[in-house]
C-alpha cells in the first residue's frame, strides 16, 4: 500500500471506484476551462472560494481525522497574511520579496502553532480546552491587530493599519511572472489539488491510520507504543500551515488583510465548512468549503444581512440532524444507490 496510486486510492476518504475518478477528472477539467467561459470578475470570485479550501482541509485533518477541535484556526490564516505583507512589503523592489514572504508566513504559522501545540498536547489537557484556548488566541490576535492604527505601528516601511488593516500587499511573483487574475486562479487550483492529493495520501498512510486510532481511543493507541502527543502536535502544526497557506493566497487575491479575518465571525466559518461537509472526508470538506463560500459571498454581496444567521442556523441544523455531515451523508446515499443499481438481483 505504499505506492502513490495505492496511497491515493486508499479507503480513508470517499470515492475509490473508476467511476468516481472519471467524475473527478471531469470536474477538474471543468474548473480548468471555466475562465474561458466567463468574466474575470467571476473567475476572481471562484479563486476566492477555492483559496479557502486549504484552511478547510486543515480543519478536516485536525478535527475529522485526529479528533482535535480548533476554534481559532483563522489565527494562522491571519498570521501568514500579515507576515507576508510585512516581508514582501519591505522587500518590494526585490524580486525575491514575495518568495521570502511566503516562506516567512509559513514559518511564522508553524512556529506559533508549534509553541501553542507544545503547551496543550504535552500537558495532555482535556479535549474541550483546545477549542477554547485556540479561540482565545485568535480573539486576542484580533484585538491586538485592531489597535495598531497609527504610524508608530509599523514594521520597516509597512504599516499594520489597525482596524482598517494592511493594504497594498504585493503580488506573488516567480522570477518576474506575476500571478494575478487568470494566472492566480490557476495557481490556486494547483495548490488546492496538491493539498488535497497530498493529504489524501497522508491519511491513507500508516501515519494517517495511527492518527485515526488516536481519534478513536487515545489511551489504547498510546498503549500500542505510539507517542500520541508528538503525532497530535505534528498534525496540529501541519493543519496550521495549511490555514496559513490559505491566508497567503488570500492576500494575493485582495492585496489587503484586516483584523476581522482573525475575528470571532471568521473563526466560525472553517468549523461550519467542516461540520457541514463531514469531518470524516477530505473531499466532502473541499466541496462544502467551496459551496459555502460561494453561498456566503453571493448572499453578502447582494446586501443580504441574513447571511451569518443562515450560516449559524445551518451549523445548528447540521449538528442536530446531519451529524456525519451533509455532503458525506449525501455521498453515502449516492453510494448505496450505485450499488443497488449495479446489482439489482441482490436481495
Amino acid at each position: 500500500m505504499s505506492t502513490v496510486a495505492g496511497l491515493i486510492s486508499g479507503g480513508a476518504d470517499i470515492g475509490r471506484t473508476r467511476l468516481f475518478w472519471i467524475g473527478f477528472a471531469v470536474i477538474v477539467l471543468l474548473f480548468l476551462l471555466y475562465p474561458t467561459q466567463t468574466s474575470a470578475f467571476r473567475v476572481s470570485n471562484a479563486s476566492f472560494y477555492l483559496l479557502n479550501v486549504p484552511l478547510g482541509l486543515g480543519m478536516a485533518l485536525l478535527w475529522g481525522y485526529c479528533g482535535v477541535l480548533s476554534f481559532g484556526h483563522v489565527a494562522y490564516f491571519g498570521i501568514a497574511g500579515y507576515i507576508y505583507g510585512i516581508i514582501a512589503g519591505n522587500m518590494s523592489g526585490n524580486s525575491f520579496g514575495p518568495l521570502a514572504g511566503v516562506a516567512g508566513g509559513l514559518l511564522a504559522t508553524g512556529f506559533v502553532a508549534g509553541v501553542f501545540g507544545y503547551f496543550v498536547f504535552y500537558a495532555r489537557v482535556q479535549k474541550w480546552i483546545i477549542p477554547i484556548l485556540t479561540l482565545v488566541l485568535t480573539l486576542l490576535l484580533e484585538t491586538f491587530l485592531g489597535q495598531t492604527a497609527g504610524y508608530q505601528w509599523r514594521v520597516g516601511s509597512v504599516l499594520l493599519g489597525g482596524y482598517n488593516g494592511m493594504t497594498g500587499i504585493p503580488w506573488f511573483q516567480l522570477g518576474g511572472f506575476v500571478f494575478e487574475g487568470y494566472s492566480f486562479y490557476y495557481l490556486v487550483l494547483a495548490v488546492v489539488l496538491a493539498c488535497y492529493f497530498g493529504l489524501r495520501m497522508l491519511v491513507n498512510s500508516s501515519f494517517g491510520h495511527v492518527i485515526v486510532a488516536i481519534r478513536e481511543d487515545e489511551l489504547r493507541t498510546e498503549l500500542l507504543g505510539y507517542d500520541i502527543r508528538a503525532r497530535q502536535w505534528v498534525v496540529f502544526v501541519l493543519s496550521a500551515v495549511l490555514a496559513g497557506l490559505s491566508g497567503l493566497l488570500y492576500v494575493q487575491w485582495g492585496n489587503y488583510i484586516t483584523p476581522s479575518q482573525v475575528g470571532l465571525l471568521q473563526a466560525a466559518l472553517p468549523v461550519i465548512w467542516t461540520a457541514v461537509g463531514g469531518t470524516t472526508s477530505l473531499l466532502a470538506v473541499v466541496i462544502s468549503t467551496f459551496a459555502l463560500n460561494w453561498v456566503t459571498f453571493t448572499l453578502s454581496s447582494q446586501g443580504n444581512q441574513y447571511a451569518m444567521v443562515i450560516i449559524g442556523a445551518l451549523l445548528v441544523v447540521t449538528m442536530l440532524f446531519f451529524p456525519r455531515g451533509i455532503v458525506v451523508m449525501l455521498a453515502e446515499r449516492l453510494g448505496r444507490l450505485m450499488t443497488r443499481r449495479a446489482a439489482p438481483s441482490q436481495p
Binding site: 482565545v136 491586538f144 461540520a275
Partner: protein
C-alpha cells in the same frame, strides 16, 4: 502601617506623617480596588460558564450571547421605567428561560459528546448574536452607572464597582449555600460525581441537567445585566467577556465549581492587575493567556483539581 508613618512623623527633616499616609495609602487601596474589581469582573464573567461545565463537562459557547440577553433585558426594562435592581433580577430569569429552552431543544442531545456540544452552541451563539443585530439594530440605549465615584488621594473609585465586588461575594456565598444546603445542590453534586449512580439512587438527572443549565444561563444573564452599565450595549458585547471567561474556566477547571471559579478569578486578577497597570489592559489579557498556558502545563485539570487532590491526600494521610 500607622507605626511606620508615626516613626516618619518623628523624622528630623520634619516629614509630615499625614503626607506619607496620603501618598501610600491611596496607592495601596487603589491596588486592592483594582485587584478586587478585576476579580469580580472575572468571576461575574465566568460563573455561569463554570456552573454548566462542572455539571455537564460542556462549554456553552452561547455564554456571551446569554450575557448580552441579560444586558438587553436590563436596558429595555430599565428604560421602560423599571428600577435598575429589579431589571437586573428580571434579566436573570429571562436568560434562565432562554437557557432552559436551549437545553431542552438542543444541548440535551449532546451529553456525552462534549465537542459536538461546543460546536452546536457556537452555532446558537451566531444565530443569537446576528439575529439580535438584525432585530434590534447595532446599539441599544446605555444604562447610566448607578452610584457615584469618590476619590481618595490621586485615585478615584467607583461606588458601583464596589457594589459589584460585594455582589460577587454574596453570589459566592449563595452558591456555596445552594450546593451544600439545598436538595438541588446535593443532587447536583451527586450527578456531577457519578451520574449513573445518582440516577439509580432516584435522582432525576435530566431535570438536574436542565436546572443547572438554566442556572448557568441565568447567572450569565445576571452578570450581563450587572456589567451592562459599564459597557456599550450592543449585539456582540458578549465577546469582550468571552475571552476572560474562557481563561478563568480553563485555569479553574471543573473539579470543584466554586473553588475553581474563586481561585481562578483571584489568581488571574493578581496577574492582570500589576501587568495591566504597568503595560495597559490588553497586555494584561495577553499575560492571562500566557499564564493559562503555563498553568495548564503544570496542572492540566485546572487548579480546582489540584486543590482537591491536595486536600484528599491530606485527608488520606490522616486516616492512617
Amino acid at each position: 502601617m500607622f507605626r511606620l508613618s508615626a516613626r516618619l512623623g518623628r523624622n528630623k527633616l520634619g516629614f509630615d506623617r499625614s503626607g506619607f499616609t496620603m501618598d501610600v495609602l491611596p496607592l495601596v487601596l487603589s491596588l486592592l480596588y483594582q485587584f478586587g474589581t478585576s476579580a469580580a469582573f472575572f468571576f461575574l464573567a465566568a460563573v455561569g460558564l463554570i456552573i454548566i461545565l462542572g455539571m455537564m463537562n460542556i462549554i456553552n459557547l452561547a455564554h456571551g450571547e446569554l450575557m448580552m440577553i441579560g444586558a438587553y433585558t436590563a436596558t429595555i426594562t430599565y428604560h421602560a421605567g423599571v428600577p435598575f435592581w429589579l431589571a437586573v433580577i428580571l434579566s436573570f430569569f429571562v436568560a434562565a428561560a432562554f437557557g432552559a429552552v436551549l437545553e431542552l431543544l438542543i444541548v440535551r442531545r449532546f451529553y456525552g459528546r462534549e465537542l459536538g456540544a461546543l460546536v452546536v452552541t457556537w452555532g446558537v451563539s451566531l444565530v443569537l448574536g446576528q439575529g439580535t443585530l438584525l432585530f434590534f439594530g447595532p446599539f441599544m440605549p446605555s444604562i447610566k452607572i448607578p452610584g457615584g465615584s469618590f476619590s481618595f488621594g490621586d485615585f478615584s473609585f467607583s461606588a458601583y464597582w464596589l457594589i459589584l465586588v460585594l455582589i460577587s461575594l454574596l453570589l459566592i456565598l449563595g452558591l456555596w449555600w445552594l450546593y451544600s444546603r439545598t436538595p438541588y445542590g446535593l443532587q447536583a453534586k451527586a450527578t456531577m460525581q457519578n451520574a449513573e449512580m445518582a440516577k439509580s439512587l432516584g435522582v432525576r438527572t435530566p431535570r438536574i441537567y436542565a436546572l443547572t443549565f438554566s442556572l448557568g444561563a441565568g447567572l450569565a444573564g445576571l452578570s450581563g445585566a450587572l456589567l451592562a452599565p459599564t459597557v456599550t450595549i450592543a449585539p456582540f458585547m458578549g465577546q469582550q467577556f468571552v475571552a476572560p471567561a474562557f481563561i478563568i474556566v480553563v485555569v479553574g477547571g471543573a473539579a470543584n465549581v466554586i473553588a475553581g471559579a474563586v481561585g481562578s478569578s483571584a489568581i488571574l486578577a493578581a496577574i492582570k492587575t500589576p501587568i495591566g497597570m504597568a503595560f495597559g489592559a490588553f497586555s494584561g489579557t495577553v499575560a492571562l493567556l500566557l499564564a493559562a498556558l503555563i498553568i495548564i502545563r503544570v496542572m492540566p485539570n485546572g487548579i480546582s483539581a489540584s486543590l482537591q487532590g491536595y486536600f484528599s491526600r491530606r485527608a488520606g494521610g490522616a486516616m492512617r
